[in-house]
Amino acid sequence: MTTLIPEAELERLHARARTILDGLDRIVLGQQQLNRLVVGGMLAGGHVLLEGLPGLGKTELVKGLAALSGLDYRRIQFTPDLMPSDITGTNVLHETPDKGKHLVFRHGPIFGQIVLADEINRASPKTQSALLQAMQEGTVTVFDTTHRLPQPFFVLATQNPIELDGTYPLPEAQLDRFAIKAVVTGVTSETLCRILMDRPDGRPPAPAAVCDAAQMTELTAAVRRIALPQAVAAFIARLVNASRPDHADAPGVVRSSVRWGASPRAAIALAGCARAHAFLAGRPAVGFADVKALATPVLAHRLVLGYEAGLSGIGAPQVVSELLAQVPELAA
C-alpha cells in the first residue's frame, strides 16, 4: 500500500524548498538547472560532485546553499599535502586543570552539516578516502572510536577538469559515493552582463537563512515519502542492470564500451534523486520523466568505460542516453 503525502503538507514543504531554490537562483545567476540538481541531490540525502572550470561559481553555489539552508557549513580546501586527520580530526593530548593529561578527540572539518570539499581531486587518494565512511555512513572512526556526524550531513565537492597535473582522479569507490555529478557550464551573455551590472565587487549578495537544520531534515524526510510506483522502480532496476555489460539486457554500446556498470547504490541514488525531482516539481509520486531527467547526472560518473569507448569517442553521457533509448519504460 502506498500512502501519498497529503496535498496540503506537500504544498507547504514544497513552498519551503521553493524558497531555497529561489534564493539560490538569486545567488547563482543563470544556473537554474544546476541549482535544482544540487538542491535535489541534497534533499535526496546524497552528496554532490560539482565539476567545472574555475570561476563558474561552484564555491559560491555551495556557500549560498549553506547560508540559505541554515546548516553548519565547513570548507575543506583539498591540497596535495592534506592528510586524512586534517579532515576527520584526531586525538590530541589535553591537559586538565589538575595537570592531568589525556587524549581528547579534536573534530575535523568533516563535522559539519554542509561540507565543501573544494578541488577534491588535488588531495591524495589516501586523503580522499577519508571521506568514504563519512559520506556513506555519516560516521567517522578515529582510532577505535566511531563518531557520529551531525545530521543532516551533505558533502558538496568540486573538481577542476583541467590542469590535471598533480591531481588524483577520484577512485571509483569514491565517485560512487556521490549521488550526483553535476557539470557546471558557463552562463549566457545576458546573465554575465547582469552579474557585471548588479555585482560591482563580484560577490553575490549574502543570503539570509530561510530554514534551519530541523526544517531541512523535515524536507529530506518528505522527499523520502514521495511515492515510487512499482513500474518506475522496475524501470530504474532495468536501467541500472542494463548498464552492466554482462547483463542480458545490456545494449550493444554498453557491451562494447563499458567495463563496469552502475551498482545497486546507483539505483538507490537514482530513485532518491528522482523522488527529490518530483518533490521539487510539487508532485507526490515519481514518474518516468523524473528518472530520465536524473539518469545522466546520477549514472554517468559511475560507469567505468573501456578503451573502446575512448577509441570510439563515446563518453559516459552518451552511454546513458543510449540506455534511455534502449530500455523501455514499461516492460512488454
Binding site: M1, P229, V232, V286, G287, F288, A289
Partner: protein
C-alpha cells in the same frame, strides 16, 4: 470493492490491451494460414479438380487455424503495475496515477485522486494497431481470388480419345436447345447428365458405366429429336385436318376455335411458319377465332405465347359471329401456311417427312379424304376421293372365327401375329430433317428461307393448281406475302 474512475479506466485499458494483444497474436498467424489455404485452393482449382470437394474445408481451415493464437494472446494478462504505468503515461499523470492505482479505491487519497479526475476523464485509450493486418488482408484476398477461380474441368485430365466423346454430345444438346427440340427441363437434365459423365470419366476413365451413360444420353437426344419431329408432324396434320374441316360446308361454327388451336400448336412447334397472322383479309376472323378458342379453353399459355410471337394477340369476337366465308378464309390461310411448312420440310429432308406425315394422317384416321388402304381413286393424301364407294358395303363382313393367337381389333381388323423388332428407320436422315426443319422455322432465318424455299414451291403449286377452276374471293383479294405461294392457288393439302 468499490470502483472509482481509476479502476474503470484501468479496466478499459486492460480490455483494450487484451483485445489488441489477441489481434497482434492472431494476425500474423492468420496471414500465414490464409496464405497457405490460398495456395492450396489455387492448386486444387488449377491442377487437382479431383480434390474440389476439399475447397470449403481448406477455406475454413485457413480462416480458423490461427484462432488459438488469438486465444493465447487474449489469455495473457498485464500485471497491475504495468497497466497503471500505461494509464499514467496516457493521462500524463507523471507517476500520480501509478501511485494511486497501487492502493485500493477506498484507501486512495481523495485530494490527489480529484486532481487526477480531469486527466482520466479525457484520457484516450491507445489507438488500434492494424499494421499487422495488411499481410492478413492480402492473404485473405488471395484466398478469395483462389476460391473464385473456375474449377479446372476434369476432362482436362482425360485422354483426348475420351474427351472427344463429349464434345459431339455437348454440341448436340446445344443444337437441340437452340432449335427448341428439347424442353427446358430436359435440356438442363441432359447437361447435368453430361457433366456427371465427364466427372466420372475424369476420375475413372473409360469404363462400362461411362459407355452406358453416353449411350443413354445419345438415345435420349434421339428420342427428343423424334418427339419433336412427331410433335411437328402432329401439329401439321392437325392443322391440315382443321383446314379441311373448315373448308367443308358442313363444318360446325365451333370448328374455327379448333382451327386456331391447331394453328397455335403449329406456331408453337414451328414458329417460322406463321410469321404475320393478323395481316390479310382474315385478320378479323383470326381475332374472332382467338377469342373463341380462348373462351373454350383450347389454348395453353404456350399457345398464346406462340400466337403472340406470330403477331396475334387480343382476340375479339366478330359482330354476328364467324360466318362460313370467314371460316373458309381462315382455313385458306391455314392451308397456305401449311403448304409452306410442308414444302420446306420436303425441300430440306426429302421424303422422310412425307412418310412421317402419312403415318400421322393414318394414325389419326381422318374422316375426310382418302385413307391408306381404302378403296377409290384419290389425288393424294388428304384430298377428297375422286370416286366414292359405300364404306359399309366394303367393310368385309363379320369374322366368325380366329386362328389361335389372333385377335380382333376394335376397327374390325384382325391381328394374326405380332413380332417385335426395331423400327427400320434411317435415323440419321430423320435427325437431319428435324434439325433442318427447326432451323427453317427459326424467325431469324426468314431471309434464307425465303430465298431457298419459296421459288421452288411457287412453281410446284402453280403447276399443280393451274387447272383449278374456282378461286375464293377472299384469297384473291389478299396480297401475296413473302415465302407464301400465290394466292390464286388455295391448296388445302400438301403439295405432292
Amino acid at each position: 470493492m468499490p470502483m472509482d474512475l481509476i479502476d474503470r479506466r484501468l479496466a478499459h485499458l486492460h480490455h483494450r490491451r487484451r483485445v489488441q494483444r489477441a489481434f497482434d497474436a492472431w494476425m500474423p498467424w492468420a496471414a500465414l494460414s490464409l496464405g497457405l489455404a490460398a495456395v492450396a485452393v489455387m492448386v486444387v482449382r488449377l491442377g487437382a479438380p479431383a480434390l474440389a470437394w476439399a475447397v470449403p474445408t481448406l477455406v475454413a481451415a485457413g480462416a480458423l487455424a490461427a484462432l488459438p493464437m488469438a486465444a493465447r494472446g487474449w489469455r495473457r494478462r498485464d500485471p497491475p503495475e504495468l497497466l497503471a504505468g500505461h494509464l499514467d503515461e496516457l493521462a500524463r499523470a507523471q507517476g500520480l496515477a501509478m501511485a494511486l492505482a497501487a492502493d485500493d479505491a477506498r484507501d486512495r487519497d481523495a485530494d490527489w485522486a480529484a486532481r487526477l479526475r480531469r486527466p482520466l476523464e479525457t484520457v484516450e485509450l491507445p489507438a488500434w494497431r492494424w499494421a499487422a493486418a495488411r499481410p492478413m488482408l492480402v492473404a485473405g484476398i488471395c484466398l478469395a481470388v483462389a476460391v473464385a477461380l473456375p474449377q479446372a474441368s476434369p476432362t482436362a485430365t482425360m485422354p483426348p480419345s475420351v474427351a472427344n466423346l463429349f464434345a459431339p454430345l455437348a454440341a448436340r444438346i446445344d443444337e437441340a436447345a437452340a432449335e427448341r427440340l428439347l424442353p427446358r427441363d430436359d435440356e438442363q437434365a441432359a447437361r447435368a447428365r453430361l457433366e456427371e459423365l465427364e466427372a466420372h470419366a475424369s476420375g475413372s476413365g473409360m469404363d462400362q458405366t461411362l459407355w452406358d451413360g453416353l449411350d443413354r444420353l445419345d438415345r435420349d437426344l434421339d428420342a427428343a429429336d423424334d418427339a419433336a419431329a412427331q410433335r411437328l408432324a402432329a401439329a401439321l396434320v392437325e392443322a391440315e385436318t382443321q383446314a379441311d374441316a373448315a373448308g367443308d360446308q358442313a363444318a360446325t361454327p365451333g370448328s374455327s376455335a379448333q382451327m386456331l388451336a391447331a394453328l397455335a400448336e403449329l406456331a408453337a412447334q414451328a414458329p417460322g411458319l406463321v410469321p404475320t397472322l393478323p395481316e390479310g383479309a382474315d385478320a378479323a376472323a383470326m381475332q374472332a377465332a382467338l377469342a373463341e378458342a380462348a373462351a373454350n379453353g383450347l389454348l395453353s399459355p404456350e399457345h398464346l405465347q406462340a400466337l403472340q410471337r406470330a403477331g396475334l394477340r387480343g382476340g375479339k369476337e366478330m359482330p354476328g359471329g364467324m360466318d362460313d366465308a370467314a371460316r373458309r378464309a381462315l382455313a385458306k390461310r391455314l392451308a397456305e401456311q401449311l403448304a409452306i411448312g410442308i414444302g420446306k420440310l420436303r425441300g430440306d429432308d426429302g421424303g422422310s417427312w412425307e412418310e412421317r406425315l402419312e403415318r400421322e394422317r393414318g394414325g389419326r384416321g381422318r374422316g375426310r379424304g382418302r385413307r391408306d388402304g381404302e378403296p377409290g381413286v384419290g389425288r393424294g393424301p388428304g384430298h377428297e376421293p375422286l370416286s366414292f364407294e359405300d364404306r359399309a358395303r366394303l367393310d368385309g363382313g363379320a369374322v366368325d372365327g380366329l386362328p389361335p393367337g389372333a385377335r380382333l381389333n376394335p376397327d374390325g381388323s384382325v391381328t394374326l401375329a405380332e413380332q417385335q423388332r426395331g423400327a427400320e428407320l434411317d435415323e440419321a436422315a430423320l435427325h437431319a430433317a428435324t434439325r433442318a426443319a427447326a432451323r427453317a422455322f427459326d424467325p431469324g432465318a426468314a431471309d434464307a428461307r425465303r430465298t431457298r424455299v419459296a421459288p421452288r414451291h411457287r412453281a410446284t403449286i402453280e403447276r399443280y393448281f393451274a387447272s383449278t377452276p374456282s378461286v375464293p374471293a377472299a384469297a384473291a383479294a389478299t396480297p401475296p406475302a413473302p415465302a407464301v405461294p400465290p394466292r390464286t392457288a388455295a391448296p388445302t393439302t400438301p403439295v405432292p
